[in-house]
Amino acid sequence: MKLTKLFERGEFAITAEVGPPKGFHIDYLIDEINTYLKGRVSAVNVTDNQSSVMRLGSLATCKVLQDQGLISIFQLTCRDRNRIALQSDVLSAALLGIENLLLLTGDHTTLGDNPQAKPVFDLDSVSLLHMVKKLEQGEDLAGNPLEGDPPSFAKGAVVSPCSDSVDVQLIKMEQKVKAGAEYFQTQAVYEPEKFIKFMEKAKEFGVPVMLGIVIPKSAGMAKFMNENIAGISVPDSMIEELKKDKEKTKAGITGVEISARIIRECKDYCQGVHIMAMGWESKIPDILDLAGL
C-alpha cells in the first residue's frame, strides 16, 4: 500500500526506520520488527548503505519485509549508482511489489567505511524524483519508452526543519515538490517551536510532512549530533535533562519521554511521525503509547 493513501484518508501516518546489517543474516531484525513494529507503524523505512557504511541492500531487505506482511519504504540514494542503475533498481522495486520510495542525494563516500570508493552523484535528490516521475509516465530519463504499464509509487523526500538556514531548506523543498515529491520525512527535530514555525511556511506546498524523531540515547550522543550532524540541534536544556538521572537515561526512559513530548507538541502541525530509533526499536511502542498514538 502506498503511504499517500493514508494521508488522503486523513490518517496520521507512523513510520520507523531500520538499517540492514553488515552481513546477510537478518533473522534478528525480522524478529525485532515483528515484536515491536508490526501493528504499531504504517510502514518501515529501510536505509540505503546509511552514512556510506557498506551493508546489506535496501531493496532485498524491503522485499523480505513485504513477505512478512509489512509495508516497506525503499530508500534510494545517488551515491553509489548512476542513472542507469537507479532506474533499473526502481523498476526492480516495482516488480517486487514495493510501492513507497524515499529519494535522497546520499552522504559523501568519504564519510563511511569504504572512503576510497568513487562517489557517483550522477543525479541528486531533485533529479532522482524527476527520474521516478518520468518512469511513472512510461519513459526513461533519456525519453525511451518502457514496455507495458508504467510503475507507480508514493515518492518521498527529506527536509531539515531545524537547519541553520531554513530559507534554503524551503527553496529546496519547493524544488522537490515541483519535481514530484508527494510526502516528506524530516531530519530529527528537538525544537518544537522551530518545527511549528517551519510548518507555517511548509504547509503552503500542500504536501504531507512527517515529523522526524531520533531517540536521544545520552548527553554524549546529543552533543555529538550538535557538532557533527547537519540540520540537528539539541537544546542545552535537553542535554541537562539527559545528564540529570544517568540511570534513567541509560535505561532509555529519558529518551522515550523526550521523544513522546516532542511528538505531542508537534503532532497537530504535521501529518505523521517518522522514528529513527538506531537500534532502540524496542523503545518505539513506549514512545507511541506516551505520545498517545
Binding site: T110, F121, L123, D124, Q175, A230
Partner: protein, 209 residues
C-alpha cells in the same frame, strides 16, 4: 586544452537586463575562443539592447591582472547592471568574485579537450562541464565548489555553512545561496530540474588546428 562555445542568443538575451558591459577574454593559448561568432552575436546584442561597452582583454582569470586591465573602465562597470563575460568558466568566476554586487553572466559553455592543461595559476576552478551553470549560481561554479558537483541545490550535509566532506571547506551551495541573496536573485533557482550531460559533443566542436 579547453574549448569555449557560445551559448545561444536566446539564452543570452534573456540574461542581460539594463545596462550591459561586455568583456571578452582572448590571448590564452589553452582556450579555443569562437572570436567571429562572438563578435557577430555581440553586434546583434548591441543593436537590440543597451550595451554600454564592449572590451577584449587577456588572462582575466588572474585577479591582479584583471584589476589593472579594468582600471580605466571602473566608472562604466559600476554603472552597468549586468556584466556579460565571454571566456572560460574560470574567467567568469574571477569577474563574479571581483564584482560581488553585480550580476555577472557567462556567454559561453566550457568543454575539455584531451591534452595539455592551462598553465596560468588560478584561484578558481572550472571542471569544463560543457553546460556552464554560472548564470544560475551567482558566478560560483557548482561543479568545482561543491564536493558532489550538485546542480539542483544543496545536499542535506551542510552544517554551519561548511561541507560535510571537510569541516574546513565552505559549502559551495551555501556560498551560492548567500551570493544570490545578496544580488536579490534567489528566484533564479526556480529552474526546471537540471540533469548533467556526460556525453560531451567532441565531434561537433571545431578542432584546434
Amino acid at each position: 586544452m579547453l574549448i569555449t562555445q557560445l551559448k545561444s542568443k536566446e539564452v543570452i538575451a534573456k540574461l542581460i537586463k539594463g545596462k550591459t558591459f561586455i568583456i571578452n577574454c582572448h590571448g590564452c593559448k589553452e582556450v579555443y575562443f569562437p572570436e567571429h561568432e562572438a563578435d557577430k552575436l555581440q553586434k546583434e546584442l548591441s543593436a537590440e539592447g543597451n550595451v554600454i561597452e564592449k572590451i577584449t582583454r587577456d588572462y582575466i582569470c588572474s585577479t591582479d591582472n584583471l584589476q589593472v586591465q579594468l582600471n580605466k573602465f571602473m566608472d562604466k562597470i559600476q554603472e552597468a547592471d549586468t556584466i556579460l563575460v565571454f571566456s572560460c568558466g574560470v574567467g567568469v568566476q574571477t569577474l563574479a568574485k571581483s564584482f560581488e554586487d553585480k550580476r555577472v553572466y557567462s556567454g559561453c559553455d566550457t568543454y575539455p579537450l584531451p591534452g595539455f592543461q592551462g598553465l596560468t595559476p588560478q584561484k578558481f576552478d572550472c571542471g569544463q562541464c560543457g553546460e556552464c551553470y554560472l548564470n544560475y549560481t551567482g558566478g560560483i561554479c557548482p561543479i568545482t565548489a561543491c564536493s558532489k558537483s550538485l546542480v539542483n541545490g544543496q545536499c542535506g550535509g551542510s552544517k554551519n555553512g561548511k561541507c560535510e566532506v571537510d569541516k574546513n571547506m565552505e559549502c559551495g551551495w551555501e556560498r551560492i545561496y548567500r551570493k544570490l541573496e545578496k544580488l536579490k536573485k534567489l528566484d533564479i533557482l526556480d529552474y526546471p530540474v537540471k540533469i548533467r550531460n556526460y556525453q560531451l559533443p567532441f565531434e561537433e566542436l571545431p578542432k584546434d588546428e
